[in-house]
Subunit: 208 residues, 2 copies
DNA sequence: GGAAATTAATCAATCGTTTGATTAATTTTG
DNA sequence: CAAAATTAATCAAACGATTGATTAATTTCC
């Protein structure tokens, strides 16, 4: 069947990403990647040079598309609060649409053996942190926000989303959902956005 | 020298924990553990049966001491807000005093190949979530707290702390510190506690 | 027909684990 | 008390299995 033509290169990337997400980089063997992708083991080295080459390719691809989604929220007409709300919405959607990759990224961020990879993730993440920093700092300077600990507010925004993705969620009456279930995911997205927008509004703009 | 008597068993545990934290479980070899601890390789299996046995032992130890620190905040005399503030203080201190282990725990939580380990961590973590849940729900019921999305508030409290520990911190003017530096750690602890207490106070008790 | 893609077979290195032997300490026995 | 027996702790060496990588031959495709 000639219609069965598949791009082995792409198949390897997809299989590797799935496996890396599930069992980690060291926990995934090249033989597993070959089997899962339907490619011969040698194809991994043929296309990517090495196992690490596959990993780097995956991360670069993802981080690039991540960065490209970073819309410049710099229209003069909208308020600092409105900017922040848009960033929250974009950030929640992005992460909850890529939960497996987000977990893998966080895992890699806590390891020390691939400093090159760590730096890449750090750079991508600090872009987001700086964007939020500029918005909040701007709001404080123009008087629309209270004077707050900016670093801690950033930790709250990013940490809340990450916690929803990583922490166990089938655990309590108030938390009993599955992010692999599309309906649950949609609901959690909406709740996360509503919560973070509400929280930042109250905390940043309530006069004492 | 009889004073030079060292407990090899303990040495293995400590070396293994350090290495597991730094390079992950699969990324650490038994030979590395042996070298780092000064013990013979065979001692690992002699004392713990297997590499995984070492890992399980470390996690059990840590989780047990974790749980024992969970003070029952159930004195009738203090308000829900006061209870919540105490939990925040205890939680921040506990995690920032064990950042390496906390990272490892989170890493393990995002992997699927050791379900037994995942369940242990999940159980430990859900205890904390349930404690916070009871406090907030109680506050809502007695009218001292606003009606909020409890799961999301929990994600905010726990996620904020985890983000401080895991996210890169030498990155921006507003975030330039090193948790390995005792002075920085002390400062961050204080800021994290102040921020989360302030945040929860404003968000949970401000009347709209 | 020739470049690109794919394969099976093989490589040295490393993995976690086990072995049999040895030491040092403790307990039992006469 | 001292000799004999037993135990726990430690070691170097080796085990079979698996790792990531490479080779050389073959197939596919333009």
């Amino acid at each position: 069947m000639k219609t069965e033509k598949v791009d082995k290169r792409q198949a390897i990337l997809e299989a590797a990403e799935k496996l890396f997400c599930e069992t980690g980089y060291e926990g995934t063997s090249t033989r597993q990647i070959a089997k899962e992708s339907g490619a011969n083991m040698a194809m991994i080295n043929y296309y990517f040079g090495s196992k690490e080459g596959v990993f780097v390719e995956i991360m670069n691809e993802r981080i690039a598309s991540f960065a490209s989604q970073l819309k410049i929220i710099n229209e003069d007409k909208i308020s600092a609060l409105e900017k922040l709300h848009r960033v929250i919405e974009g950030y929640v959607n992005r992460i909850l649409n890529n939960t497996a990759f987000h977990k893998m990224m966080h895992r890699e961020l806590s390891l020390t053996q691939r400093p090159e990879m760590y730096d890449k993730i750090k750079d991508a993440m600090s872009h987001n942190m700086q964007l939020i920093d500029r918005i909040i700092t701007g709001g404080i300077e123009d008087g629309s926000f209270n004077k707050v600990d900016v670093r801690m507010v950033i930790a709250t925004i990013m940490g809340t989303i990450t916690n929803i993705v990583i922490a166990p969620n089938k655990v309590m009456p108030c938390s009993n959902f599955d992010l692999n279930n599309p309906k649950d995911k949609k609901m959690i997205k909406e709740r996360a956005i509503a919560h973070l927008q509400d929280l930042t509004t109250v905390y940043l703009t309530t006069k004492k």
